[in-house]
Amino acid sequence: MNGIHRIETQLAKQAAFVGYLTAGDGGIDRSFEAAMALIQGGVNILELGVPFSDPIADGPVIQRAANRALQQGTTLEAIFGLAHRLRQQSDIPLILFSYLNPLLAIGAEKAIAAAARAGIDGLLLVDCPPEEAGEFYDACLNHGIAPIFVVAPSTPPERIAYLSQLGRGFLYYACRKGTTGIKAGLPEDFTQQMAYIKAKSHLPVVTGFGIASFEAAAQVLAHCSGVVVGSLFVKALEDNIELTALTQLAHTVFEGDRS
């Protein structure tokens, strides 16, 4: 099963609970354990964030995590190793979430081939719109990896259709302006925006950016195919959360407090 197919199958099966981790924050082993804890807590698609020195789309929480990961000497090779270990333990889709330059340093074909070998199923390049994705886009399709594109509140309607036509697996709706972070609730225009996007998109839509509570996640899931939680988990890891508590946190945010 190639990566695109794995993502499609997962989204057809159930709502996507997407968890994000900055890979290498606390070391690669800690990332592995944290990923397994999230999967146990209901995460059924995992985003592995590649730390970058200049993360312009990220707020302070993920900026700090990237710094820590880089100080630990985290490399793309190590992240591919992490993906490979996770792939042996779990069948859920793994998405590489990266700024362009760390991949560019290796080269599109080499980087994507290595990602595919490691078991990566999708690629989201934060600072690379499809207009500039060229070689990476082609390499993804050649290796069965889903190129995933982001839609923002500022994306014009005709462009939503264009992005969803080029993308595979799902369309990622970053539902707020600005950067990643932990926010309360959802933006006021969320329902309306989502209706626009769904009307234009050929792909299932998964929403992220600032989702940090069960209430917000549930509201998102009422309108689209999945929800992404990132900074909440990254912050918990920064605060040295126990793995069992991380599993519980994932459970709580995706499925509500069952206690």
Partner: protein, 397 residues
Amino acid sequence: MHHKPGFYGDFGGTYMPEVLFAPIQALQQAWTQLKYDAAFKQSLDKALKDYAGRPTALTDVPQFAKAIGASRVLLKREDLLHTGAHKLNNALGQCLLAKRLGKQRIIAETGAGQHGVATAAACARLGLTCVVYMGSEDIRRQAPNVLRMQLMGATVMPVDHGAATLKDAINEALRDWSAHFEESYYCLGSALGPHPYPDMVASFQSVIGTECQTQVQTLLGKNPDYIIACVGGGSNAIGLFSAFINDPKAKLIGVEAGGHGKRLGEHAARFQASTKGVLHGCYTYVLQDAHGQIAPTSSISAGLDYPAVGPQHAELYANHRATYVAIDDKQALEALSLLAKTEGIIAALESAHALAYARVLAPSLMPDQTILINLSGRGDKDLPTLMTQPALTEVLS
């Protein structure tokens, strides 16, 4: 090889998060319309003349020439422009454009503080709100400029992460813009970043070259043989080069910051390392490690202390139209002091790198050859740095 707008050979592009796609597209459209709009050009020319003080002088510096062993050296005096550097050419242009777009809040980043001061002035003049991001390391070493920005009503936002210099200030300005693009305009200070900034900034700075070419022709009856400018992002250099690019006899030389050593992290000499990558929206030469992480940089000059370079310079380097050299901290300080002593002009540390290269070049010149140097800014802002320099204390004693 790309042939689409926003690329210079292989370099340039619009590598930005999706949230900024629409604001950048709107800016591209506005710039396409206004670039050749007669009324817009007229209002900018008027502001440059009446407010900024254009044209700036072209100064023959015979004592400096003699001291370095050159027959003739000319300085284009952007240091005489209002606010003390070439930056105002661009800040006025972009702030006028922002007004046309109906934006009331201007975001800017600054390294040496010169672009921040220029933007603060333009905003005060045009009745706009101004927020300037500045690395806390730069705030420390360019303290006079912080006070100047504040006096003109700008809010200076310290940036503490990374090396707390220009690169980090741009990161933070981009984050602000992506959250506030509806009411805010990002006034980028150099000929870098996503399309259309390199073209727009180079276009606003081309006034330096156009004006200078006329002045040089009047003085010499021909173009100079060597045209030298310092290159951080590269806006003063591209502005000056633009008028001479089509004259194959005019040798264009960009001077980067050699810092205090040759290892990664000790300098900001992008063309010496010669590695390519994407930073702040464009594909260009970038100082980075083997894993594509952007490297720290070092220079005595805050305005040159940046790991990437504008895409037009990347292309001029790749196609060998221009040459890029590095000058270290000590050479820059010595040149600054030499020009001050011989001609009574205190150059900015950035511009002093260009002066220093003229010193290196002079011995190899023919007797009738002329050097033109862009004196992009004045050195008042550098006094706090200069006072802590043992090298300079030596020169002064």
